[in-house]
């Protein structure tokens, strides 16, 4: 670069460079984003982290086997409710979402590898959204695999009626497990979006996330008050209740008990159609919309954020 240029030719050169750059980056941005997506997936899977996650997710299946051995008279639908509809959504899903989503940007910052991403021609908002998408992928796959395994552990070998491939309501078990996986996947996506946003808003994402899981999702969601309208688990429970049945035979098998209505504080006696609660479509819209809003707000915050190294953070 040895030519002497006037200001006008400088501007002309810049415009030409801009045009070239724009053409180059338009196509190559897709390549860069795909690479970032794959990189994030690889980060999730390398090392011992996925093994520990796997062990955690194998817990329900392991418990199912243990319960079938130690409590053989407990009906399979009851086991399914304890493990798939209490244990997984209240303990595992939010924790795993917190672990992965809180690290979307914070892990890169702590490891100081975010510099290598920031100096690439990738907009910061796109950086966040792609990493969030990769987080969705990892958590949904983990949820799908291990919920499926749990179903298999609960219902495998249950050939005698009424479970021969079907539950008491005549639902096909494989179809039921697919519906369950879809509902759990929607819930984990909502959690990931929420915790991803929280991780950009507060440094103490872990404490805030745990408080949210324990207090909001764990306690407030179980009260029959309006407060549960702000919880993810309430909507996923409603979707589940409207698409699946949760009737469990009482001891002796003479009568059936709606375990979900009792456990989830749904007053089906006074309101059999749950008309006072959001409908199926509204629940799906709320979950998807809230996830989208959290993702967009987080991407906006990320686009305006500075990432400091060696330099002091603002007070």
């Amino acid at each position: 670069m040895t030519s002497v240029s006037s200001q006008a030719s400088i501007d002309q050169t810049s415009r030409e460079n801009d045009a070239v750059a724009h053409r180059a980056t338009r196509g190559s941005l897709v390549a860069a984003l795909w690479t970032l997506y794959v990189l994030t997936l690889r980060q999730h899977l390398h090392g011992k982290r996925w093994m520990v996650m796997g062990l955690l997710f194998l817990l329900p299946a392991g418990l199912a086997v243990l319960m079938r051995v130690t409590s053989p008279d407990v009906p399979a639908p009851a086991l399914e409710f304890f493990l798939v509809w209490i244990f997984i959504p209240q303990a595992l899903l939010p924790l795993v979402a917190l672990l992965y989503a809180s690290g979307i940007i914070q892990d890169e910052q702590e490891e100081q590898t975010i510099t290598y991403l920031l100096v690439r021609p990738i907009p910061k908002w796109a950086l966040y959204l792609v990493k969030l998408l990769a987080t969705f992928t990892t958590t949904v796959i983990l949820t799908a695999i291990f919920t499926g395994l749990t179903f298999a552990a609960i219902y495998f070998g249950e050939n005698a009626p009424p479970y021969g491939g079907q539950n008491l309501a005549g639902e096909s078990i494989p179809l039921r497990s697919l519906k369950t996986i879809a509902i759990q996947a929607l819930a984990v996506i909502s959690y990931c979006s929420l915790f991803g946003l929280m991780s950009l808003v507060t440094k103490r994402i872990l404490v805030v996330g745990i408080l949210y899981i324990a207090v909001v999702e764990g306690v407030l969601a179980n009260f029959p008050f309006g407060i549960r309208l702000v919880t993810v688990i309430y909507y996923s429970r409603l979707v589940a209740y409207r698409t699946l049945t949760f009737m469990v035979p009482t001891p002796g098998g003479g009568t059936m008990q709606d375990v979900a209505a009792e456990a989830w504080q749904l007053d089906v006696r006074a309101d059999p159609g749950l008309l006072e609660h959001p409908q199926f479509g509204m629940c799906i819209k709320v979950l998807l919309t809230s996830s989208a809003v959290c993702a967009i707000v987080a991407a906006w915050i990320c686009s305006r954020r500075e990432f400091h190294f060696k330099t002091p953070e603002k007070d």
């Binding site: 670069m1 501007d11 980056t25 590898t113 920031l118 021609p121 500075e306 002091p312």
Partner: protein
């Protein structure tokens, strides 16, 4: 220190600055990182110097779009930097922190960085191969980075900065912790890049290394621009500190008497152990002009002449340690 003739790329004739800081300030709460700095960095190799906490990292991070200036404007290649990711296609950064995706191999890391820069698969593969070869890491490219030595890590860091063939390169302390061999190789790479027409900004506080790379420096202290330009020009402007010129001569005492007679000589110190004389003068050019005639006089053959403060270290010391 002997006066070194730095064999550098000639300073470009063009006036187009590569990086322009205009009235830039950056503060962190109550702490001012950069204080109303106006600076233009031109093509070629430029050394960015300053003591710890001077603002070098802040400046580099603003130039690469990682930090936003609180005031003023920062332009690279005549484009605004902040929130302009497309500009990163033309910028390469070798950061100071020793951070990698440790589980990746060297090749994997450079290739991934190439793909993140938008290169297509085939292009990225070729670019990674070429760049790794240029930094001398072909033999070790298949090993995980966690097993690399410090020199290897610096080379791979350099490689990721070069892989997308940027026009402007920012190197933040690229030679830290490297052994002499790796240091020599990295300096050769920097000089070769400058020879290829790239603009390189090297931030460091290791003066002799920067001096070997370039005489064009930018000196910061406490977030302010202290000096900018050629080392010798800056040195000449430092009136407060006369130049120290050492003359090695057998009859140094007689020489001292003759030197004291000149008006521009402010002081003379005898270095008996070296059979030499150190002269302090405010007009080094005039003094050098008189030396040939002086040397021809009886018994005063001057065996060696050098200046021990016509260098970066002296400039740094005089300007920073005020």
């Amino acid at each position: 220190m002997h006066l070194e003739v730095v064999n550098q790329v000639a300073r470009p004739v063009e006036v187009t600055p590569i990086v322009v800081f205009h009235e830039v300030s950056k503060w962190y709460g109550n702490v001012i990182g950069i204080n109303k700095l106006t600076l233009q960095i031109r093509a070629g190799v430029t050394g960015l110097l300053g003591p710890n906490g001077a603002g070098k990292s802040t400046l580099l991070q603003m130039a690469t779009g990682q930090l936003r200036q609180s005031q003023g404007s920062v332009r690279v290649l005549n484009r605004q930097v902040w929130n302009n990711p497309a500009l990163n296609r033309f910028i390469g950064l070798c950061p100071e922190q020793d951070a990698f995706y440790e589980w990746m191999t060297g090749w994997d890391f450079v290739h991934t960085c190439a793909r993140l820069s938008g290169l297509r698969r085939g292009e990225a593969r070729d670019a990674a191969k070429r760049t790794i070869e240029s930094v001398g890491m072909t033999k070790n490219q298949g090993r995980a980075i966690r097993g690399y030595s410090k020199g290897m890590r610096q080379r791979i860091k350099m490689a990721q900065a070069l892989v997308h063939n940027p026009e402007v390169l920012f190197l933040d302390e690229p030679l830290t912790g490297t052994d002499p061999l790796a240091r020599r190789d990295l300096m050769d790479i920097i000089q070769r890049l400058a020879g290829e027409g790239k603009s390189v900004v090297v931030s460091s506080h290791v003066l002799h290394e920067v001096q070997s790379l370039t005489p064009n420096i930018v000196l910061l202290n406490h977030g302010r621009l202290v000096a900018e330009g050629h080392v010798r020009d800056i040195r000449n402007l430092i009136d407060k500190h006369p130049h120290h010129i050492v003359l090695v001569c057998d009859d140094y005492r007689k020489l001292a008497g003759r030197a004291l007679a000149w008006d521009d000589v402010e002081g003379v110190r005898v270095l008996a152990d070296q059979s030499a004389l150190m002269v302090e003068t405010r007009s080094p050019d005039d003094f050098y002009g008189r030396l040939p005639a002086l040397s021809l006089e009886d018994g005063m053959a001057i065996k060696a002449v050098y200046s021990d403060d016509d260098n970066l270290e002296a400039v740094f010391k005089y300007l920073v340690n005020k």
